[in-house]
Structure formats: structure tokens, C-alpha cells
């Protein structure tokens, strides 16, 4: 590692992906610095913690990896920014009857916002993360966001908020590999976390218990109210709107001759609306707060594969931009689980065009 080598800050979580990413960068001769973001602390009053990120174990793992790789490692306090730009909007979205995905907000404001600024203040040329996605620069100099090489692990969905400026300063070393290969790289580097299991939960929630989280942080957000059908007839009682999501069938506590699904909510009336399967199907959505990775919307309608949840399959659709930050999506076939608050992300092949937040539909 010479005096003149390019400096890269790696966001380390103690997991295998970011650890291997750091290792790959060290091997490539970069001047690598590991940073862990302290995003959230919630003490349950008995020494236990409700969140799974930045726990003492994760921190010890990341530190051990950094020691093994021979790179400096620091923890930076981002709790205030994280609360203001991720957790509070998450709570507000639930209170507004939406089903938010906080990871997109976190990438927008924290990882490729505050952390990227940190990296720059440390004279780093790049910020690297362990995401499974790829960045390509085309001949005209523009950056493209591509799916990760491993289709099962692709994380471009949560990166669809990225701008040209951010893509120019970010590296995703893991995106060129399969998960299995990344584990092998970690093992070859002698990193003790090579076989560590991964967690799918939101980082600030333990065991994915968002209901408990809302009960603690937004006590008024879940109030029981009526369940009605699309004709407005009362069928039962719900435990609080944030506990339901569009397309949900289980856990409604209703007995009906045909299965009933959550089709929407009237937030003002604290009412959950259910209907038969055929009511649920929709073939259109409106996305707001749209980010076009290229920096501007396409000139007219484009054909695209659209993902309406992180782990959903792509559905063929026509995406029509409506101004800079709105898009209308018309699917070739109806979908049953279009969920306001989740992101709709647009693809052409491996290229992620961008995405936006699914707006509430007229009931």
C-alpha cells in the first residue's frame, strides 16, 4: 500500500459481503479504510437490544476483519441523521397507511449521502459497499446501474435511488461475483465471517418485528377499527392499519364463503378494505418521487420489466414518464400485490433505469 494509492472507504457491517468487498479492494492495491455506521441504538432496559445492526457482535466482527486485512477501522455516529431521514419517515409512512421500504431512504440519505460525505472528508476517491450490483460507464461517460451478477442476490432494487454523481464515486466489488464466490473469497482471505449466515431483517428491527417497533415508537399508529368489504359492509375488526398489507389474506380473522384479501385502506376512517381476489388485481400504478438513474426521464413511454417489491419477479410493463419525478406504469397483465409505499423499479435487461414510490390508488 503505497503513499500514492487511491483511497477507498468501505462501509463495513461485519457481514460477509462488505468484508469480502474490503478484502477485494485491499488485494487490488487501494488504500482502504473501514467505517461502520452507528445508526440506531435501542435498549430494552434489560441489556438486550431490539435492533440487529451495529450490535457489539457485528462491531467485533467488523473490527476483526479490518485487523485481519490490516486496514484502519472506525465507527461513525450517524444516529441523528438516520432517525431524521429514515426512521421518522418509516413511522410516518405507516401512519399514513403505506408499507414503506426504509432501505431505499437509507441508501439515498445515509449510505450515499452522509457516509459518502464522510468518505470525501477523509480524502477518499470512492465509497464502497457490499451490495450485489454493478456500475458501468458507457462510452458517453454516463454511468449505468446494473443488476448484480448473481440473480438470486441482486440488490439493484434498493439502489435505484442512486444518481449519476453518486455512481461516479461508488464501488460495488461484490457485484461481479456470486454469493458463493464471495464466501469463498472471504474464506481465502482467512476472514472468520466467511460462513456467517445472513439476515434479511431491517437493520433497526430485531426479528423483523415492525409491529412491536411501531408500538414502541408511534404508540398511536395502530388503533383497532372496522374491516369492510368494497360495498362498505362491516365484516370485522382490525388491530391497526399498519399491521396489514395489500394482498394479505391470512390473519384477517374473517370467515367468508370465498377468500378475502386486503385491497386497500381508508386511512382517514381507520378502515381496512377487503375484497375477493378479482377485486385485487390491478394492471396500473403511479410512481412518485421517481429517480431516473440516467439523470433525466426518457423522452416517452418505454418498455420495461418492473419490480414492485424487493423480492418480486419482474413484470413486463410500459412506463410513461409524467414530468421529472412521476411515472405511470401499465402492466401487460394484472398484479395482485401492488402495495402503496413500496418501490416500483424499472429494468431493461440488466440495466436499472430507476424507480419511484408506489402512490396510493383510488379505492
Amino acid at each position: 500500500m503505497g503513499t500514492g494509492s487511491t483511497r477507498v472507504v468501505v462501509a463495513m457491517s461485519g457481514g460477509v459481503d462488505s468484508s469480502a468487498a474490503a478484502g477485494l479492494l485491499v488485494e487490488r492495491g487501494y488504500d482502504v479504510i473501514g467505517l461502520m455506521m452507528r445508526l440506531w441504538t435501542e435498549d430494552d432496559g434489560c441489556g438486550g437490544r431490539h435492533n440487529r445492526c451495529c450490535t457489539p457482535d457485528q462491531m467485533a466482527d467488523a473490527r476483526r476483519v479490518a485487523d485481519r486485512l490490516g486496514i484502519p477501522f472506525y465507527v461513525v455516529d450517524m444516529r441523528a441523521t438516520f432517525k431524521a431521514s429514515v426512521v421518522d419517515p418509516f413511522i410516518d409512512a405507516y401512519a399514513a397507511g403505506l408499507t414503506p421500504n426504509p432501505c431505499l431512504n437509507c441508501n439515498r440519505h445515509i449510505r450515499f449521502g452522509a457516509l459518502l460525505k464522510q468518505a470525501q472528508a477523509m480524502d477518499a476517491a470512492y465509497l464502497a459497499t457490499g451490495h450485489y450490483a454493478r456500475i458501468r460507464q458507457s462510452e458517453d461517460g454516463a454511468y449505468q446501474l446494473l443488476k448484480g451478477l448473481d440473480p438470486a442476490k441482486d440488490q439493484s432494487y434498493v439502489l435505484s435511488v442512486m444518481t449519476q454523481r453518486q455512481l461516479a464515486q461508488v464501488l460495488f466489488p461484490a457485484g461481479d461475483y456470486t454469493k458463493e464466490h464471495i464466501r469463498q473469497i472471504a474464506a481465502d482471505l482467512g476472514l472468520h465471517i466467511a460462513r456467517k449466515p445472513e439476515s434479511q431483517d431491517l437493520c433497526f428491527l430485531a426479528d423483523g418485528d415492525y409491529r412491536g417497533f411501531l408500538a414502541r415508537h408511534a404508540p398511536g399508529s395502530a388503533t383497532p377499527g372496522p374491516i369492510v368489504n368494497t360495498q362498505g359492509e362491516r365484516l370485522g375488526t382490525h388491530t391497526g392499519l399498519p399491521h396489514y398489507t395489500v394482498g394479505q389474506r391470512k390473519g384477517l380473522g374473517l370467515s367468508a364463503p370465498t377468500p378475502l384479501y386486503v385491497v386497500g385502506a381508508d386511512v382517514a376512517a381507520n378502515t381496512l378494505i377487503v375484497g375477493a381476489r378479482d377485486v385485487l388485481g390491478r394492471d396500473a400504478l403511479v410512481a412518485r418521487h421517481v429517480n431516473w438513474v440516467a439523470g433525466a426521464p426518457p423522452d416517452g413511454p418505454v418498455r420495461a420489466g418492473v419490480k414492485i417489491r424487493y423480492r418480486a419477479r419482474e413484470t413486463a410493463a410500459t412506463v410513461t414518464p409524467d414530468g421529472a419525478t412521476t411515472a405511470r406504469v401499465k402492466f401487460d397483465a394484472p398484479l395482485r400485490d401492488i402495495t402503496p409505499g413500496q418501490a416500483a423499479v424499472f429494468y431493461q435487461g440488466d440495466v436499472c433505469l430507476g424507480g419511484g414510490v408506489i402512490a396510493r390508488q383510488p379505492a
Binding site: 503513499t3 441504538t41 451495529c54 462491531m59 465507527v75 461513525v76 455516529d77 452522509a114
Partner: protein, 386 residues
Amino acid sequence: MAGNGQSIYMDYAATTPVDPRVVEAMMPYFTERFGNPSSIHTFGREASRAVQAARETVAGILNCKPGEIVFTSCGTESDNLALRGATLENGRRHIVTSPVEHHAVSRTAEILHAHLGYGLTVVPVDAYGMVDPADVADALRDDTALVSIMYANNEVGTIQPIAEIAAVAHARGARFHTDAVQAAGQLPLDVAALGVDMLAISAHKFYGPKGVGALYVREGVRLVPSQSGGGQEGGRRGGTTNVALIVGLAKALEIAYAEREAHVARYRQLRDRLIEGVRARVPDAQLTGHPEQRLPNSASFALRGVDGNALLMHLDLKGIAASSGSACLVGTPEPSEVLMAMGLPPAWALGGLRLTVGRHTTDAEVDAVLDVLSDAVARVRALAAA
């Protein structure tokens, strides 16, 4: 290691390198002279002689009797032995201490308070972190067992009026302990002049090895051992005697006091160069601790609107090892308890910076630190504002 290859240690209050003469003095006691001083045979006697010589050396510097020195495993243990030992022995049920003590004292006092029901009074400090003996006098009760006030503060360097406080405590029949861990090597340790009943030191702060300390216990002060076991150290501290490290502590203390005047004069000059430089070049920086009554080697500052840990990170990246009052490895910095007790608002108390010089510090290093510091502070402030 820093990107530009420089490596400047400005954290001598955290620990010091072992003097090569000390290493040399210790070496035989790891190998050929390995005996247990409690054994009656030749090997034991040889080790015992070494420990006795060490005890005499330490006693000479502290101006006390060799039998009044108890060797321990560190400064923390010395403080624990003083607080637990002297209060448990005593029928009295009250402890007086200050809000700027090292955790070795403050946590121990809190445990005695919370779990054993001792009364605990924490006297205030002024804006310099200084205890007023009159406040100690007010806090004293008929059942005060112990007053424990540190000699010099580890975070801001303030030196307390120990002799006066000791006299105040004695006037009400209370024992007086002082944590002299930071003072040792720089300030006089004459226990008779200080008038203390107990005094704690730790070798790694004065160019000795880590993992060995001592407690002076005035003759006649009875202690319940906090580490009970064999009859070592006059029954006051059980555990097979750590001969090599004790030899190292004594040698380090001997060297430190033989050379003290020269070192301290040099520390003062380096420290003042730092303080003047920060005053001139870093906006919104305030010296913390007493302007005169402070450790010769310690320059400490509060920096408005600066997360001290973020600053340390930026300094480390430039190869500068410094410390903050609220050192935190886990990214949840809290305002420094010491700075808060001195009345600094939280926006300043998060920004503690401690630069402590030592035997190997040079003028050039001080200047290099000053060059980096103003830029690093500006970066951290810019990030916080973003």
C-alpha cells in the same frame, strides 16, 4: 498507519512505552531468577530480595516505609483496594468523592453505595475541574469513612489541592485516598508532605510495564483485602507476587524521579507550544482544566460543535494518536462526564481533545500536529453542518 507515513504519539496519558533500562532490569526475573518470593529456598530468597529492593526504592520516592507499599496489578486495582479495603474495615458508612474521578474510583464508590448501602457525596468542581476543600469540609459527616480525590485529572490535567483536602478529611477523622496514577512521574509523590493515607500509582503511566501498580497505605490504616488469598503483601493483597513487573515498576519510578526535573521542564515547554498553537490556529477552541495548576504534559481542549471521536479518526488518518475525553469505540459518543461536571454545555463537551506529550515528543511533532489539527477540525465541523 497514516497515508503519508507519519506517526506521532500524543497520548502519553493513555500509556507510555517501557524504558529500555526497565526492560533490561526485568528480564532476568522472567527466566533465570524465576523463583516465588514466598518459597523458603534459594530461588525464593533471590526473588524475595528483588521484591524487597523494589519496595525500598518505591518507599524512598514516596518518603514512606517499605511496609507501607502494597504491589497490585494496576492503578484500577490500587483504587479498588483503597476504596473497598478502607471502607469495609471501618465502621463508618459514608464516602466523599468528586465528579472528575477516574472510573476506577467513581464506579467503585457507586457500587459501594448501590450494593452495600454506603452514603455517597460527590462534591462539585469549579470551571477548571478543581475541588474546593471547603466543599469537602461541608460534605463530611461524623460517619465519613473515606474521602477520595484524585491528585491530577486524566482528562483535563487539573491538579487538586491534595494536602489541604487531606487535612480537612483528617480533621473529621476520615481517611484520605488519592488516585495519583496520572501524577506519578511528573509531580512530587512525598506522602508525608501530601498528608495522604493512601495513594495509587500505575507503572505504565511512567514508562514502566502495564499490569502492575502500587498502593501506599499509611501504617495503622487497616484494609480488608479486595483480593483475598495468600498472605502476600502483608495480607493486604493475595496472589503470587509478580516479581518481574514489580522490579519494572520500581526501576521505572526510580528513573522517572531521577530525571524528573529535566523531563518536566521539557514537557511544559512542549505543552505550552501546543496550547498557544491551538489558541492561535483553531477557532472556537477552549483550554480545559486549570491554566496553571495542570499536569506538565497535558494540553486539553473543548471544541465547540465537534464530535471528539470523529476528530480522533481524522487525526489518526493523518498519523496522529490523540485522545478525547469521551473516548468511544462504538460510535455512541456521550458528552464527557468531566467536562459536563465543569459546567461546559453539551455542544462543547462532546468535543474533548487531549494531547499529552512525553519523553519522545519533539517540537517538530508539535508543529506537525498543529498543522493537521486546524484542517481536521474544519472538516469535522463542515460534516456536522452538512
